[in-house]
């Protein structure tokens, strides 16, 4: 095992985060604070409690998930897309390092960054609303699994993307609607039956619901199902990535 190689990639990626501190940390904190001011304080004060929880507290897990998904997909995709774009990927490809090691380096760094930012958002949220965590272990499990899975998903996007336009499709166009319609800001019980059914096809619903259950023990779907969906998605991403490296898809000619 090329431990030094994994370390080199991991630290290289983490150094990029330090260089772009404003963009990677400050910006999500400001965005989340704005959500809490608008939805939590301004609108939330005129809203009833949802399932016995204040509206501000209710939306906190969803907001953390939104940031986590965006961060992980963004970092995971950019980390591998950029060397492809500049050509420095030649060095990775010609190194004595295995697929699994490359993945651990890139995906590990993207997930770490996502978790750091997610934790900062959690702390920011608790400055605005009262947050209690009923099942800390489960919460951490959801947190880490989601970070790893979506960093891996981002990695795949980074390999697939031909240009910056494609690179941004998921974080800009796909994730926000899924998060907004996935019960981040409401319980899907508030929806008409038809839209409740549609919502069940949205994978993000399971993430947000399971994550919220670990906080307040309220959920739109069974938390076990949520966990199974996350693990299933992780396995799917791992399989696709293994195939990418086996065939050299878009990496090697």
């Amino acid at each position: 095992m090329n431990i030094e190689g994994v370390r080199a990639i991991y630290l290289f990626e983490m150094a990029r985060m330090r260089r772009t501190l404003l963009q990677s940390v400050v910006s999500p904190v400001i965005t989340t604070s704005l959500y809490f001011i608008v939805f939590g304080a301004a609108i939330g004060s005129r809203m009833q409690e949802v399932d016995g929880i204040s509206y501000g507290a209710f939306i906190a897990p969803g907001l953390i998930m939104l940031t986590l998904l965006n961060q992980c997909i963004g970092n995971g995709s950019f980390g591998i897309y950029f060397p492809k774009f500049t050509g420095t990927i030649y060095e990775i490809l010609s190194s004595p390092i295995s697929t699994a090691e490359i993945l651990i380096g890139y995906v590990g760094a993207a997930a770490t960054k996502g978790l750091i930012v997610g934790t900062i958002i959690l702390l920011t949220a608790s400055a605005f609303v009262d947050i209690s965590i009923a099942h800390p272990f489960l919460m951490a499990l959801f947190f880490v699994l989601t970070a790893v899975t979506f960093s891996l998903f981002g990695f795949m996007i980074g390999i697939w993307a031909k240009d910056f336009e494609q690179l941004n499709i998921f974080p800009m166009l796909v994730i926000p609607p899924l998060v907004f319609l996935g019960g981040s800001f409401y319980s899907i019980n508030m929806l008409p039956p038809f839209w409740q059914t549609v919502s069940h096809f949205n994978p993000v619903l399971y993430l947000v619901s399971g994550f919220r259950w670990s906080f307040y023990e309220i959920a739109d779907v069974n938390p076990a199902v949520s966990l199974a969906i996350v693990v299933g998605f992780l396995v799917a991403c791992l399989s696709v990535t293994a195939w990418i490296f086996k065939t050299g898809y878009k990496l090697k000619s």
Binding site: E4, G5, A8, T88, Y90, E91
Partner: protein, 308 residues
């Protein structure tokens, strides 16, 4: 001694249908400097990329120090260094961090003293904290070399190391190659510059259209294929070549005061003595005689031309 790099029937056909390599066989001896000459699109970069792991071969085998490049990629890649043709570097990294990164990537523990020595050797040390995007083209080339040397490779591929490089850097580069050879590193370089091959290589391979046309010891190649030119300066200019000299295929040069005779040094007879006696029989007075060896460039153009 077994060759350090052994290439057998290597082929590469790209997805576009273009066949870059059509069955290359080549053995590279440990410690030698091999120059690969060839026009653009000859397959030089494809061959190097396959050996280094950047391009997947379509057929054939390559072993490096006895290890297969696909099955034993960890072993082969940890002893191969590559300086690519393109100046591909991260923009926002510093010289020091990118060189250290390369060392780590190749599984070596950090060694600041070594990195410092490499940077000093390449006149990069005073730029160690400079961001790569602020470096000139020549400096970026040096950084790429430093990166490849950071993990002490035993076999070093230099893909057109002096393309677009000024004269002083080119001379530096040649000295560096000499030093590396002295340290026992095997060096394979591709180049368009024939003078470069002539200057530093032990052996020269000519590649064109995805095939190796020949690999020869540099001196042997130049003697074997070398053509010489004999120039005879006459005391009085000639208007035309006398008919008695026609069999020699002479050319009249200048304003008629020079006769040029081409001969092969590899032929059994050069024909020089008979030419000289024919000249005196024709009553021509000779003032001076000089010979010129054709350069590698002429040899190369001849070879690649024949191949077309």
């Amino acid at each position: 001694m077994a060759p350090i790099v052994s290439i057998r029937n290597l082929t590469k056909r790209y997805a576009t249908g273009f066949t870059a390599l059509k069955g290359v066989d080549l053995d590279i001896e440990e410690g030698e400097i091999l120059a690969l000459l060839g026009p653009n699109g000859a397959g030089k970069t494809t061959m190097i990329s396959i050996i280094c792991g950047i391009v997947t071969p379509s057929g054939g085998t390559v072993t490096v120090a006895g290890h297969d490049i696909l099955a034993d990629y960890r072993k082969t890649r940890s002893i191969i260094g590559l300086v690519p043709q393109e100046l591909t570097l991260d923009s926002f990294e510093t010289v020091w961090s990118t060189v250290s990164f390369s060392r780590g990537l190749h599984g070596r523990k950090p060694d600041p003293a070594l990195i410092e020595r490499i940077l000093k050797d390449l006149s990069l040390y005073d730029k160690k904290d400079t961001m790569l995007r602020h470096l000139s083209g020549g400096m970026r080339r040096r950084v790429l070399i430093a990166k490849a040397l950071s993990y002490e490779p035993k076999v070093l591929f230099l893909d057109e190391p002096t393309a677009g490089v000024d004269v002083s850097l080119r001379k530096d580069m040649w000295q560096l190659v000499e030093r590396l050879r002295a340290a026992g590193v095997t060096i394979i370089l591709t180049t368009h510059y024939i003078e470069e091959a002539e200057e530093i290589a032990d052996r020269i391979g000519v590649i064109n259209g995805g095939r190796i046309l020949l690999v020869e010891d540099k001196k042997a190649l130049m003697t074997k294929l070398g053509r010489k030119q004999l120039t005879v300066e006459l005391a009085e200019p000639l208007a035309a070549i006398p008919p008695s000299l026609a069999p020699f295929g002479l050319a009249l040069a200048g304003t008629g005061e020079r006769l040029v005779y081409e001969f092969s040094t590899t032929g059994e007879r050069t024909g020089i003595s008979s030419l000289l006696s024919a000249l005196s029989q024709a009553g021509l007075r000779v003032r001076d005689v000089s010979t010129e060896q054709s350069s590698l460039e002429d040899i190369f153009v001849e070879l690649v031309g024949e191949d077309r």
